[in-house]
């Protein structure tokens, strides 16, 4: 089995591309750079496909399929190897990452065609692919952490791609640092796990964890702490409260980047990690609850902000945050497969939306403000159609992908009893409301962009449809966002949900929310909840239609009447300002004025120089005894005589120091 034996090929191809482009691409024409970039990613995509094919030929006991290549860190009883692993979960991620990644590469060739630093862009993008693949293929936490940090780096580079713009550079820095805060937790989580289990390899670790009984609710046992720490990392990477602040700013990067990294793949890494560590989370109900609540809260919170944003990418960014919230909600209520399912569908339609948005921006010549768009539907048909599909998908209109994934999440949320009977229902309600908001702001986006009258200056902006290289990926993604969800369709007529079934070996659930007995209940609830969901989605659609097509004046009036709320939402609840005022500024002030200027310069150095000063003063005093006057000298001799005589004749004047026994 060539590829499965040589899994390393899959991540290494993009790395190769990155290196080649990075080192030599500078002088090359775009064509060659494209060739390298797309070629390598494409190859790794096909390699992935081949790997999957081979994977299906494996017998169950061969799964998870682990290959150890070389040992990377080894000290004492600790070993972290460059070990790659494939199981069902990996397969999903692998396909999503390589597939979507490849499409976006293709798209970028069109989008970035006339940007400077073309080679740089693709080098970074390939580098990202490499690390992302490492992340999903890693067979132990440390290697996973490599990918984890690596994608952070790539995103830093890509967000700061337009480094001449201060805002871009700032955003990149912010992204990296906020992620680092998450990683802080992630590392501690790893340390704790290692202390507890003596290994960080998934297989061994989970084998040791499986027999453990779940910890009591509300009790901070080892596993709970470990899970919470891991989740801290996940929250950082996947932009959950309170660490979501970096993602909206990350929109400073080129749109394909936003699509690939900040929508489809990297930001979902957190969800992946939680799902990957489900064995631990299952046994830490407290952590699960936290995850669910945080996820749900983030979903709702981000959605509210999304309502009023006018930057097309910002809207999508907040919707991403909100969707990620959904995924965590799913994981939190134990519906890991649902979470992953949503991860996949979201990857499709959110990538689609972003790319379409990119196409719009491209068409508008860089304009991103919704308020300066409108009536584009006729001008850029294909973009409009694809984007509309994407919107339907995310809004959860059947039978598009979003509907199924979102539906299964809401269902599991409704059923969940973790942390009390009603918790599940509350979560469900919040989720549902979020769904409403989602469809509302998404359609608001659509209407503002494509309907109504043009709100831009015809003479300056020459709207034009994008090139093939951009439209083809859009089309493909549109198709995926339509059919992507049908894997879960069977659930409706009582058949087992293919996707869940496929992932079942991974998420072998101990207290089954997705097995046997529960199946029936689930099926019973399935349809009614689905109907409710659809209704909410449509309600959102209609509200948006009424506000932004029927009476375009209304929104402003609303904004006026709810001035306070509106402003707050518009300014993202002033969270950035809050962090600035509470964390950043005090820290800088403290460092400058207390640590550096006071402790270092004044106290420590002051003390050192002070001693020197003191000695010098004493030295000057000593010097002054050399008055040059012989009479005084004679007196000194007498003094000396008296000193000696005293020491010799009166023992008690002898210094007590001398005998340091």
């Amino acid at each position: 089995m060539p590829i499965l034996e040589h899994l390393w090929i899959i991540p290494l191809l993009p790395l190769l591309g990155a290196t080649v482009n990075g080192l030599f691409g500078r002088t090359w024409p775009n064509k060659i750079v494209n060739g390298v970039a797309i070629g390598t990613t494409g190859l790794s995509f096909f390699a992935a496909l081949e790997a999957v094919r081979e994977f299906f030929l494996l017998s169950p006991e061969q799964i998870p399929w682990v290959r150890q290549y070389f040992s990377w860190i080894a000290a004492g009883n600790f070993r972290a190897g460059f070990d790659l692993q494939v199981d069902q979960l990996t397969v999903v991620m692998l396909l999503v990452v390589t597939g979507v990644g490849w499409l976006i590469h293709i798209y970028s060739t069109g989008y970035m065609a006339d940007e400077g630093g073309y080679y740089r862009f693709f080098a970074y993008l390939n580098l990202f692919m490499f690390f992302m693949l490492i992340l999903v293929l890693a067979a132990n936490y440390v290697l996973l952490f490599v990918g984890w940090e690596g994608v952070g780096l790539a995103s830093y580079l890509l967000i700061g791609f337009y480094f001449l713009r201060k805002s871009a550079a700032d955003a990149g820095k912010k992204a990296f640092i906020v992620n680092r805060i998450g990683d802080f937790g992630f590392m501690l989580g790893m340390f704790l796990l290692f202390r507890t289990f003596g290994t960080l390899d998934f297989v061994k670790l989970f084998d040791k964890a499986t027999p453990l009984s779940a910890e009591a609710m509300g009790h901070l046992g080892t596993l709970t702490v470990a899970c919470l720490l891991l989740f801290m990392g996940a929250a950082g990477k996947s932009a959950q409260i309170p660490l979501y602040v970096w993602l909206p700013d990350a929109m400073e990067g080129p749109t394909p980047v936003s699509a690939l990294i900040h929508a489809a793949t990297m930001v979902t890494a957190g969800v992946y990690v939680v799902a990957r560590s489900h064995v631990l989370f299952m046994r830490a109900p407290t952590a699960m609850l936290v995850v669910a609540v945080v996820g749900c809260a983030t979903a709702l919170f981000a959605a509210t902000i999304g309502l009023v944003q006018t930057d097309i990418k910002k809207v999508l960014a907040y919707s991403t945050v909100s969707q990620l919230g959904y995924m965590f909600l799913a994981c939190g209520v134990g519906a890991f497969s649902a979470g992953i399912f949503h991860l996949m569908t979201h990857a499709f339609f959110k990538a689609l939306l972003f790319l379409a948005a990119g196409s719009v921006i491209h068409a508008m010549g860089g304009e991103q403000d919704l308020l300066h768009m409108g009536g584009l539907s006729k001008k850029i048909k294909w973009t409009f159609r694809t984007m509309f599909v994407g919107t339907l998908a995310i809004a959860g209109i059947p039978p598009l992908a979003g509907f199924f994934s979102k539906d299964s999440i809401l269902l599991s949320a409704y059923q969940s009893e973790n942390g009390g009977p009603n918790v599940g229902h509350i979560l469900y309600a919040a989720g549902l409301f979020t769904a409403l908001l989602t469809s509302f702001y998404m359609f608001r986006l659509i209407f503002l962009t494509f309907f109504g009258k043009e709100r831009y200056d015809e003479h300056h902006v020459h709207v034009h449809e994008s090139s093939k290289s951009m439209l083809v990926p859009l089309a493909i993604l549109a198709v995926l966002s339509i059919v992507g969800g049908w894997l879960a369709a069977p659930a409706f007529w009582g058949k087992p949900d293919y996707f869940a079934k496929f992932l079942a070996p991974v998420f072998a659930a101990p207290n089954g929310s997705e097995t046997g007995a529960a199946e029936a209940v689930a099926h019973a609830l399935e349809t009614p909840l689905a109907i409710v969901a659809v209704i909410t989605a449509l309600a959102g659609l209609l509200a948006a239609y009424w506000l932004y097509v029927k009476q375009p004046s209304k929104p402003d009036q609303l904004a006026k009447s709810f001035g306070g709320v509106y402003q707050t939402m518009l300014h993202k609840y002033y969270v950035d300002e809050f962090y600035n005022a509470v964390v950043v500024r005090p820290l800088l002030w403290l460092s400058t004025n207390v640590f550096w200027k006071t402790v270092d310069v004044s106290i420590i150095d002051g003390a050192v120089n002070g001693i020197a000063e003191g000695i010098t003063v004493v030295g000057d005093g000593t010097r002054r005894t050399q008055s040059g006057n012989t009479r005084s000298y004679a007196v000194w001799v007498v003094v000396g005589a008296i000193v000696i005589v005293a020491v010799i004749f009166w023992p008690h004047v002898r210094p007590v120091l001398g005998v340091g026994r």
């Binding site: 020197a612 000695i615 010098t616 004493v618 030295g619 000057d620 005093g621 000593t622 010097r623 005894t625 050399q626 040059g628 012989t630 005084s632 000298y633 004679a634 000194w636 001799v637 003094v639 000396g640 005589a641 000193v643 000696i644 005589v645 020491v647 010799i648 004749f649 023992p651 002898r654 210094p655 120091l657 001398g658 005998v659 340091g660 026994r661």
Partner: protein, 487 residues
């Protein structure tokens, strides 16, 4: 009643030194050539030094127990002889430059050397006193040798007044010791009662007199002035010779006379502490290099006194516990003499006619103007500072060791503190030489070209410093013998 040959042999070095001194005086009216007298003095110094071997070859008491020829006196005679030789070489060009009467100078130098030799070998206090006077009086004259320089004459006067003042104390001490023990012969005092007040008083007064000679605080007070005023080669002599000789006598008294050991280390403890601080603190703000070195030599006297405290402390333990301490003193004196003579020689050469360039500013950028001189001087300074691959490092190390051996931990710590303070001003000189830029006219001026004799001095001292810094073995094993001081 002509003395026996052995006696003469045991006093041979001193006799030769005096002999050559008289020879110089006699020939002075007839020979005008400077080189002749330089060579003569050189022969004399070397001859005496060579005679030290003869004396060393015939150990034992001489002149009815007045002097003692043993390893100890052998070592010191060699040291003093070496000093004399080096000073002769260093003085040659100086005398030429300053137009000073060389015959007299060399004669006095040799007489002084003889006096020191007597001090080193004397075993009887009065003989020691005569030796002391012989060296001191010559020193007084030498200090004032630049007659027309007010500084020189002032130095001479101060040295003379205070010197004889201290000598009076010393003498009175002898008298009291004589009264207490009925003898002035150190060899016959073994049964003296250590608690007799008269003896204690006498020894204290002797300690004052010698403390003055070795510049122990608070008797160090004269040192900076005299060192600064005296002609630089003479300063070199002062800092190395008489100090060593006086230490030799101190060691003989306070190590070989049982009554003078026991609690006496307290006196040395105090003196050591005071001296170290007086020297280092005083040097801290000096801008006159010559004076700075004077203060530093005070500080080093302090370090040696630390070892003395150890000696007197250990002297009464029979299984030779004190030998390392003796070794420390002797080795330190050796390394110190080399370094000081080297340093002062450079100072005298850089000082130029009338000793004009003595301030730190005159040393600015010396490294570019005269790399060799700068390197040599920094080597000496580093040795004084006690950094490795210099003799000074081992010297300091052994003193530390002696102190810690005798559980004088705190004294060791004080010494540590002091060597840090010391490091500051030694570094300052190096910094000035290497890291400051020379003034324009200094750069313009042609570099001082060192005469051969001086280069020889520098070579000997520098090589010696490094050699003993790497292989102190021979010297140590030589001075580490338990019967160092014959009893």
């Amino acid at each position: 009643m002509f003395p026996r040959t052995d006696d003469l042999l045991r006093a041979l070095p001193e006799l030769i030194w005096c002999g050559f001194a008289m020879l110089a005086m006699l020939l002075q009216p007839f020979v005008r050539s400077r080189h002749f007298f330089t060579v003569l003095a050189l022969l004399g110094a070397l001859g005496g030094t060579g005679a030290a071997f003869v004396a060393g070859a015939t150990p034992g008491e001489g002149f009815y127990g007045l002097i003692q020829s043993d390893v100890f006196s052998f070592f010191f005679r060699l040291l003093i002889g070496l000093v004399a030789v080096l000073v002769v070489l260093a003085a040659d060009s100086y005398l030429e430059r300053e137009k000073l009467p060389f015959a007299e100078f060399y004669a006095l130098l040799l007489f002084a050397t003889a006096g020191m030799g007597v001090l080193a070998s004397a075993r009887e206090l009065l003989t020691a006193f005569i030796g002391l006077e012989l060296s001191s009086i010559s020193s007084y004259i030498l200090a004032g040798f630049r007659r027309d320089s007010t500084k020189s004459s002032e130095a001479s006067l101060k040295y003379f007044l205070l010197g004889s003042f201290a000598t009076a104390f010393f003498l009175y001490g002898i008298a009291l010791v004589y009264g207490a023990t009925g003898t002035t012969n150190l060899g016959r005092m073994d049964d003296a009662d250590p608690n007799s007040n008269l003896l204690k008083l006498g020894l204290s007064l002797i300690l004052i007199g010698l403390g003055f000679k070795v510049a122990a605080a608070p008797f160090q007070i004269w040192t900076p002035d005299v060192y600064e005023g005296a002609p630089t080669p003479v300063t070199a002599l002062f800092s190395a010779g008489p100090k060593a000789a006086a230490f030799a006598l101190l060691l003989r008294i306070f190590a070989s006379v049982p009554a003078a050991t026991h609690f006496w280390f307290w006196a040395f403890w105090v003196l050591a502490a005071l001296t170290m601080f007086a020297g280092n603190l005083g040097a801290l703000l000096q801008t006159n290099v010559k004076r700075l070195l004077a203060y530093s030599s005070i500080a080093h006297a302090g370090y040696i006194l630390v070892a003395f405290a150890a000696v007197t402390f250990m002297a009464n333990d029979l299984n030779g516990g004190a030998t390392p301490a003796y070794a420390a003193v002797l080795f330190y004196l050796l390394s110190y003499a080399l370094v000081k003579i080297g340093a002062f020689t450079i100072v005298s050469e850089i000082g130029g006619w009338g000793e004009k360039n003595l301030t730190l500013d005159d040393y600015a950028g010396l490294a570019q103007r005269q790399p060799v001189a700068a390197a040599a001087l920094s080597l000496y300074l580093l040795s004084l500072l006690g950094l490795p691959v210099t003799a000074g490092f081992f010297g300091k190390f052994y003193i530390f060791k002696a102190a810690v051996n005798s559980h004088l931990i705190w004294l060791a710590v004080l010494m540590a503190v002091n060597s840090i303070i010391g490091a500051y001003y030694y570094l300052r000189v190096i910094v000035v030489m290497y890291m400051r830029e020379a003034s324009a006219e200094a750069m313009a001026a042609a570099p001082v070209r060192f005469p051969v004799a001086v280069n020889v001095v520098l070579a000997v001292t520098a090589i010696g410093t490094v050699y003993f810094g790497l292989f102190p073995n021979q010297v140590l094993n030589f001075i580490l013998q338990p019967n160092l001081i014959a009893r």
